[in-house]
């Protein structure tokens, strides 16, 4: 069998803004400010920590890396000898370089793209490789809200090693790549949206099958829920369907493709409006019997205010808390620490009204009671 191949891209400037109080280094101006504040690169050292986990099996897989600071340096320091890809790099690496490098890795059909950076890097990598090539993030940035990141550099390295070894525990799932507006963050204004969906590896427990029930994946449970939900939709009721992969399942189950990143409105089994903004949404729900269906952002547990700001405070008030359906996979709920949901509608009074317990649907006939933090 062919050896598996891993591509490595390091964003050498990722994470520089964090220690000097900036919210990231997206863009040349922010980088210059970070440097002026005395920031030094941290990405390289963290990438080396992850790559060192691969060193003991260096002969068992093929390693491709971007030249110099964008990958090859870290590989060599970790004791690996990569094949260097002929892609452009400059000292001031930019998103453009990352995208071009990722695209070149995809053309070489890597089995995994292991990248070091933050959300901005994840975004560029996804744009370069698309939804089919697996990607895994070594967390080295300031903002890491995307689900493609391992918990630590070591965890990323260990998982990449299992994949390189062909370990049967490595499976793949959809992972959300988030897009946070840094300029907004610097002004303490959080505005995140879903940028896209990547394919990310994870380690699945495959043990003691004698006692543990075969773990039905969240994805199967959510597909089943989507079909059940589509079947029980009330005639004449307006359904405001939020964004993200879980909602895409519901949209597909209803019978239309919908928008992954946008809010769509459905009535009587057909799409009434796609990718609607707040004002249009308000006009649609005014006076109507309506239900809002939303997912939960991974890691942070946001129900409103991250990626679905179109569903603004007025819309939520008009529809009413009792007509909000929250849907997500059990593993996403279990991964929340602390185990609470959050809302950030932009209207603190509404946020307080939404606080308290809510049932989160996880499968047909199954829900989990979660607290929305005040």
């Amino acid at each position: 069998m062919d050896r598996r191949s891993i591509g490595v891209i390091v964003n050498p400037i990722a994470g520089m803004g964090g220690r000097v109080g900036l919210k990231g280094t997206d863009g040349a101006e922010a980088l210059a400010r970070a440097r002026a504040l005395g920031a030094t690169p941290a990405s390289h050292a963290r990438a080396v920590r992850a790559l060192a986990k691969l060193a003991p099996i260096a002969d068992a897989f093929r390693l491709l890396a971007c030249p110099g600071a964008m990958g090859a340096d870290a590989c060599r320091e970790a004791g690996l000898d990569p094949e260097t890809l002929p892609v452009a790099v400059t000292d001031e690496t930019s998103g453009e370089h990352t995208r071009a490098a990722a695209s070149a890795m995809a053309a070489r059909r890597v089995d995994l793209l292991l990248f070091a950076g933050g959300d901005g890097t994840a975004r560029d990598v996804l744009d370069g490789i698309g939804e089919d090539v697996p990607m895994l993030g070594i967390p080295t940035g300031v903002k890491m809200h995307s689900a493609v990141f391992a918990a630590s550099p070591e965890a990323a390295g260990n998982l990449a090693r299992l994949l390189a070894e062909g370990d049967a525990r490595v499976r793949f799932r959809e992972a959300e790549v988030m897009d946070l507006d840094e300029a907004g963050l610097r002004e303490n204004r959080v505005s995140a949206r879903l940028h896209g969906v990547a394919r990310a590896p994870f380690e699945r427990a495959l043990m003691q099958a004698g006692k543990a029930s075969a773990q039905a994946s969240d994805e199967d449970a959510l597909d089943a829920f989507a079909r059940a939900f589509a079947a029980r939709m009330e005639p004449g009721r307006l359904y405001v369907l939020g964004c993200g992969t879980t909602l895409r399942r519901i949209k597909r189950a209803i019978g239309f493709e919908g928008t992954l990143l946008g809010v769509d409105v459905v009535i009587d089994g057909r799409a009434l409006a796609l990718d609607v903004g707040e004002e249009r949404l308000m006009r649609l729900v005014a006076g109507a019997r309506a239900t809002i269906v939303v997912g939960v952002t991974g890691g942070q547990g946001f129900v409103f205010g991250r990626g679905n700001q179109q569903i603004g405070p007025e819309v939520i008030r008009a529809v009413g808390r009792e007509n909000i359906v929250v849907v997500t996979g059990v593993s996403k709920l279990v991964g929340l620490d602390p185990p609470v949901l959050r809302v950030d509608t932009g209207d603190p009074a509404l946020d307080r009204d939404l606080a308290g317990y809510i049932r989160v649907e996880t499968a047909p006939g199954q829900s989990t009671m979660m607290r929305i933090a005040a």
Binding site: E154, A155, A168, L206, V334, Y357, T368, M369, R371
Partner: protein, 522 residues
């Protein structure tokens, strides 16, 4: 700590029995029937009605008796677990005393048939009744039945009784929800769903158990029952349990106590005293019956007098006037059968023998010892670099179990619970139970010392964990490649969840792997 010794297991490369045998070879050759007998009875095959007769002989391997015995001896030597020091958490692994085994094998027990007239079953019915009385004392319930063939089956019995109870009240349509917690055994939500209920799960919060506010938010006039364990598998006892049950009852719901974790609270609390309507004990775990493939199981299901009319039938009853025991099938409100007959009575027999041997004081002491042993083990395991426990901020002592995590070791060395489990086999101790799905703690493992393992056994077990954690840092690849001394090395688990490849019978194996099997053969 001392360095544990490695053991080497037998390796027989034993084929599947279906691949063994030689045509014509026999275990026993029966003499031909004498002429008079043959004339009177006819061909043996004529005794089987034509419609039921096989067209072809069964495709069994043709083997001699010693071949068969040797085959199973080899397999027993290649067994990977449940035979050694086995601190398999949530399973309360207890020694099955030879005395109990002998009693359950006596002809008065072994040769009985459930279709016998109850007048000829007085001895065993008395034991069932007496054991019912013992469980009533331990739980405060009013009646136990033993049909359920395991803990999950007893939970199912609860959901069936719940249906019967609310159907009789005309509230079944309205009360279609069952509330449980994410740390309750998965059989609770599973059986609730099987019986057609919606399931609402409560998450753990900061204290290690769900909050009363979450329960209140879940309870309504649609709630049929609350089903939970306490303590849960993390060894954390919910001290607000009485209030939980009160709230459930106030909402008109039933409360069911899954006593899978009974060992740490035996004779300290009684389900009925806490307000529960029903509870379940696992006789194959807590009460000393064989467990883990060692034999059929029994879930003892007990309930209040109010629910008793809905119990599965038959129920063993005693006529106080005559002193005779009977099987009561005349129960109008009964949910019917959850299983044939009245239970795996040889397990009830063993559990009765265990309870009588222990006595009330012995059971109370066993509970204390199990908690003490767990906390001793916790001290030892948390001293191992790389091992942490769930909810480390909680200072209270855990009861009979603690949930640990190898997350730190895994991050530092790549050695997690899978690798640890495989390496433990090399030391002749059994790997621990990890955790039920979903895993709330990364890389979890959950040993349970119970009351019967000696301090030396527990020390050996902990020494092995410490040794492997040390090896993880000093010789990672050696641990990764484990087991080294076992009958087989690490197996490829990729087919475990692939219906196209798994096979639990020989026929399924040939169907799914036929071409490959034939290639291998030849």
């Amino acid at each position: 700590m001392s360095t544990p010794r490695e053991v080497t297991q037998a390796r027989w490369n034993e084929p599947v029995v279906m691949e063994m045998g030689v045509p014509g070879r026999r275990g026993a050759v029966f003499p031909a029937a004498e002429a008079e007998v043959a004339a009177a009875v006819g061909e043996a095959s004529s005794l089987v009605p034509a419609a039921m007769r096989r067209r072809a002989k069964p495709a069994l391997p043709e083997m001699s008796e010693p071949d068969v015995l040797r085959h199973y001896l080899h397999l027993s030597q290649e067994v990977l677990g449940m035979m050694n020091i086995s601190l398999f958490g949530t399973c309360t692994m207890k020694y099955n005393s030879r005395l109990s085994e002998q009693i359950s094998l006596r002809p008065q027990m072994a040769d009985m048939h459930p279709y016998q007239d109850p007048r000829t079953l007085q001895g065993i019915l008395e034991i069932v009744h007496e054991f019912d009385l013992i469980l009533r004392q331990l739980s405060g319930m009013d009646q136990f039945v033993f049909q359920a063939a395991g803990g999950a089956h007893a939970a199912y019995t609860q959901t069936a009784v719940t249906r019967g109870y609310f159907a009789a009240k005309g509230e079944l349509e309205q009360r279609n929800q069952i509330i449980t917690t994410i740390q309750a055994h998965p059989c609770n939500p599973a059986t609730a769903a099987t019986s057609g209920f919606e399931v609402i799960t409560l998450m753990l919060e900061e204290n290690g158990y769900p909050s009363i506010e979450a329960l209140k938010a879940a309870l309504s006039n649609r709630t049929a029952a609350l089903m939970l364990n306490n303590p849960d598998d993390m060894g954390i006892y919910n001290p607000q349990i009485k209030e939980w049950v009160r709230l459930a009852k106030e909402a008109g719901a039933l409360a069911f106590y899954d006593h899978a974790n009974f060992n740490g609270v035996m004779s300290k609390i009684r389900a009925r005293d806490l307000g529960f309507d029903a509870c379940m004990f696992m006789l194959h775990k807590t009460f000393g019956g064989p467990k883990g493939g060692g034999g059929p199981a029994t879930g003892a299901y007990g309930c209040s007098a109010e629910l008793a009319p809905f119990l599965p039938k038959p129920v063993v009853v005693k006529d106080e006037a005559s002193g005779l025991y009977d099987l009561d099938y005349d129960r109008e409100m009964s949910v019917g059968k959850v299983r044939e007959f009245f239970g795996n009575l040889h397990i009830v027999m063993r559990a009765y023998a265990w309870a009588r041997a222990m006595g009330a004081e012995g059971i109370a002491e066993a509970s204390d010892i199990s908690v003490l042993a767990n906390n001793y083990m916790e001290k030892r395991l948390l001293a191992v670099d790389g091992v942490t426990k769930s909810h480390p901020h909680l200072d209270e002592y855990r009861l009979e179990m603690t949930r640990y995590s190898l997350e730190k070791l895994k991050e530092e060395t790549g050695i997690g619970v899978a690798e640890l489990s495989a390496r433990m086999v090399d030391f002749g101790v059994d790997a621990p139970w990890l955790a039920h799905e979903p895993w709330l703690v990364p890389e979890p493992f959950t040993p349970e010392a119970g009351e019967m393992w000696s301090k030396e056994d527990i020390d050996t077990w902990c020494d092995v964990i410490a040794q492997i954690a040390k090896e993880a840092r000093e010789n990672t690849d050696h641990v990764k490649a484990a087991p080294h001394n076992a009958a087989i090395h690490a197996i490829d688990g990729s087919a475990l969840d692939d219906p196209a490849r798994w096979a639990t019978t020989w026929r399924a194996y040939l169907k799914k792997h036929g071409a490959q099997a034939r290639r291998a053969a030849g």
